[in-house]
């Protein structure tokens, strides 16, 4: 069983819901990322989603787009993200890491090279935003052969048929994008989200993470009551953006927000 599945299984035995923070690797500088990851684990993160910056981030809102741009300006690349993961693994052998990004950097590296390098760096899951299951046969089989979980998105307008398809190709968990739009957009309609989750659960036994639009402890708590995991990204990255000249403060604000979410979810 993968590290991701183990994490979900042991949490579900105690009724604990997972907290999954997302930050963009190398934002605002490469040195920020590894210490931030360790502190997020201390603050209550169960899995870390690490964004791989890309020059054409078509599914991301302004906050994550700018994070991507800052990281690229620092020379971040898929290969360097993998180095950061190895660096994190020197001290943390347990917390699962999911890379979230776009297909082109993976294609440039080659599926074979990328999946091998990701495995040896200690990556547990890969969410490639712009590869639908129909196009992903070779990619998914290479990932699975190396025991890396391919993670797929579901959207408010995903049909039963598509949920079935994601269930068949996905591993680890499925990620439900809780609103139409891009990352960081709008706010959530919890009744709608709950209805959709019930529909999804009819077709899959995979755990379900919910993200896009989780901004504070209260929303995190509400989502935790209806899903297996809460994903939070833009709200954390805003802290980096708001404190360009004080990264310690940014780090502290991220830790505080995560800790407040953890507490609200557990209470």
């Amino acid at each position: 069983m993968s590290r991701i599945s183990t994490t979900f299984t042991s949490a579900s035995s105690t009724g604990r819901k997972l907290l999954i923070p997302f930050i963009t690797a190398g934002d605002p500088v490469p040195e920020f990322t590894i210490p931030m990851m360790h502190e997020m684990v201390t603050a209550g993160a169960d899995i870390i989603e690490l964004g791989v910056p890309f020059s054409g981030p078509m599914a991301d809102g302004p906050v994550i787009q700018r994070a991507s741009e800052r990281a690229l300006e620092q020379g971040m690349s898929l290969r360097k993200v993998l180095k950061l993961v190895s660096g994190f693994r020197e001290q943390d052998k347990n917390t699962p890491i999911v890379l979230m990004g776009y297909l082109n950097p993976v294609e440039a590296m080659g599926y074979q090279n990328f999946t091998e390098a990701a495995k040896s760096a200690g990556v547990d899951g890969v969410l490639t935003v712009d590869i639908p299951p129909e196009e992903a046969e070779e990619y998914v089989s290479l990932l699975k052969a190396r025991e890396i979980d391919p993670i797929f998105l579901l959207a408010p307008n995903s049909s039963d048929e598509r949920i079935n398809k994601m269930d068949a190709v996905g591993n680890g968990y499925l990620y439900y994008v809780s609103l139409k739009g891009v990352t960081g957009a709008g706010h959530l309609d919890l009744t709608e989200v709950e209805k959709k989750i019930q529909q999804i659960k009819k077709f899959t036994k995979l755990p379900l993470g919910v993200g896009f639009g989780v901004k504070d402890a209260q929303t995190a708590k509400s989502i935790a009551q209806i899903a297996d995991a809460v994903v939070v990204g833009s709200a954390l990255i805003s802290k980096i953006e708001n404190n360009p000249n004080n990264l310690d403060k940014a780090k502290q604000e991220i830790v505080d927000l995560l800790a407040s979410m953890r507490q609200a979810m557990d209470s």
Partner: protein
């Protein structure tokens, strides 16, 4: 090639290229669009309405003009210009926007969005939106808003809202991303009119189908005027819509050579160009697999061309396929050569071409002299040069 050319497959593949590489949030909208497009392209009423508009609003058929003086001067093949510059709004772009806007209306959408680089597609979109009374938002890179002020003003006069995109390199690729983001957020009432044969399936096939009117007319006109088929076709390639529009009806006519002309900017060897087919490699961007301008890490690199309409790091997936199977040849023309083409056509024939089209003219100047006087080249004159007066004057140090 004994079997008839029939591309793409039902999921939008041209061999290894094309496809639907989008986030799950966009899957349903593009599937819905695909169904509507499949249905209406077979609907005689839709086709009749489209034909009617192309005739009376766009002014089709556009002439196929024998450039006799220029042909004589070059001393080789007879050059025929397909006059897309005479269309309403001054370029081929309107063939596509008319078609997609009619589709939007049939689908009950009330809001139109588009991306634009030079502003030609933005203007063509704002034009049809005004005519149909649809709300229109055009995304344009902040850098392009700056360099194409005249077209920004035209769009505003036509009632469109122009949004300056500040992300990334602030040019066409970023405008396209921003339009896709708008679309996922507002899919219920919004139709996204993409301006070239790029994007996820069905766009490359759909935009092509609306543009093949160019090649269908040209094929017929050439027969009527000369009694025979052309020997070669020449068109500039940005995203590739005017080129595929001319080429597609001739693909099974294997004796007709096809040349797509990319922008070499300062020269391929300088790296400052927009020629993914000549100097890029396959990758995935904006929903399809195709040749891209990218670095070793798979990051998209900035492009350069004197013509904003060719300044795009990707190219339609069908061109990638035609290149790989050797059916079309892709060549490139530098900024300086394009300027020579611009002046030649202006002085020889009294026709001022768009800078994009000037790349096709410049290649024709290389090709024609090496062919016989009995041979025929059809060159796509994709647009007129009025929009480029400022760029030209600036380049030549003249104040206007």
């Amino acid at each position: 090639m004994t079997e008839k050319y029939h591309m793409p497959d039902e999921r939008g593949h041209f061999g290894p290229y094309g496809g639907m590489f989008v986030a799950e949030t966009l899957m349903l909208p593009i599937q819905e669009l695909n169904l509507a497009y499949q249905r209406f392209m077979k609907d005689p009423e839709f086709i009749a309405e489209l034909d009617e508009d192309l005739q009376h609003y766009v002014g089709r058929p556009s002439p196929l003009y024998h450039a006799q003086r220029w042909s004589r001067e070059l001393g080789g093949a007879q050059i025929y210009l397909k006059r897309e510059d005479l269309n309403h709004t001054g370029a081929h772009k309107v063939n596509n926007t008319i078609g997609q806007a009619l589709l939007a209306k049939r689908m009950g959408k009330t809001r139109i969005i588009a991306e634009t680089g030079a502003g030609q597609h933005g203007v063509a979109t704002a034009t049809v939106a005004a005519r149909l009374g649809l709300e229109c938002v055009v995304y344009m890179g902040a850098v392009d808003v700056e360099r194409q002020a005249l077209n920004v003003y035209r769009m505003k006069l036509l009632g469109a809202k122009v949004v300056a995109v500040e992300s990334g390199s602030k040019t066409l690729k970023d405008a396209l991303n921003e339009a896709l983001r708008d679309w996922v957020t507002n899919v219920d009432d919004t139709f996204y009119i993409i301006g070239t044969v790029a994007g996820p399936h069905p766009y490359p096939a759909m935009v092509r189908d609306f543009q093949t009117i160019i090649g269908r007319e040209a094929k017929h006109q050439c027969k009527v005027l000369t009694g025979r088929s052309p020997d070669a076709l020449v068109a500039c390639v940005g995203g590739g819509s005017n080129a595929i529009g001319l080429f597609h009806p001739f693909i099974d006519d294997v004796d007709v050579k096809m040349y797509g002309v990319e922008a070499a900017g300062d020269g391929i060897e300088t790296g400052r160009h927009s020629a993914p087919l000549c100097a890029g490699r396959p990758g995935v961007l904006h929903g399809n697999r195709t040749y891209l301008m990218e670095d070793d890490d798979g990051e998209i690199i900035e492009t350069h061309s004197i013509s904003a309409g060719l300044d795009y790091p990707g190219v339609g997936p069908e061109h990638a396929w035609l290149k790989d199977i050797g059916r079309a040849e892709y060549v490139n023309i530098t900024d300086d050569e394009a300027l020579q083409g611009f002046h030649a056509l202006t002085q020889m024939e009294g026709i001022i071409p768009a800078l994009e089209s000037s790349h096709a003219m410049a290649y024709t100047m290389k090709l024609a002299p090496n062919m016989d006087k009995e041979q025929i080249i059809i060159v796509n004159l994709s647009g007129r040069g009025d929009k480029d007066m400022h760029t030209m004057a600036q380049r030549e140090g003249i104040k206007i």
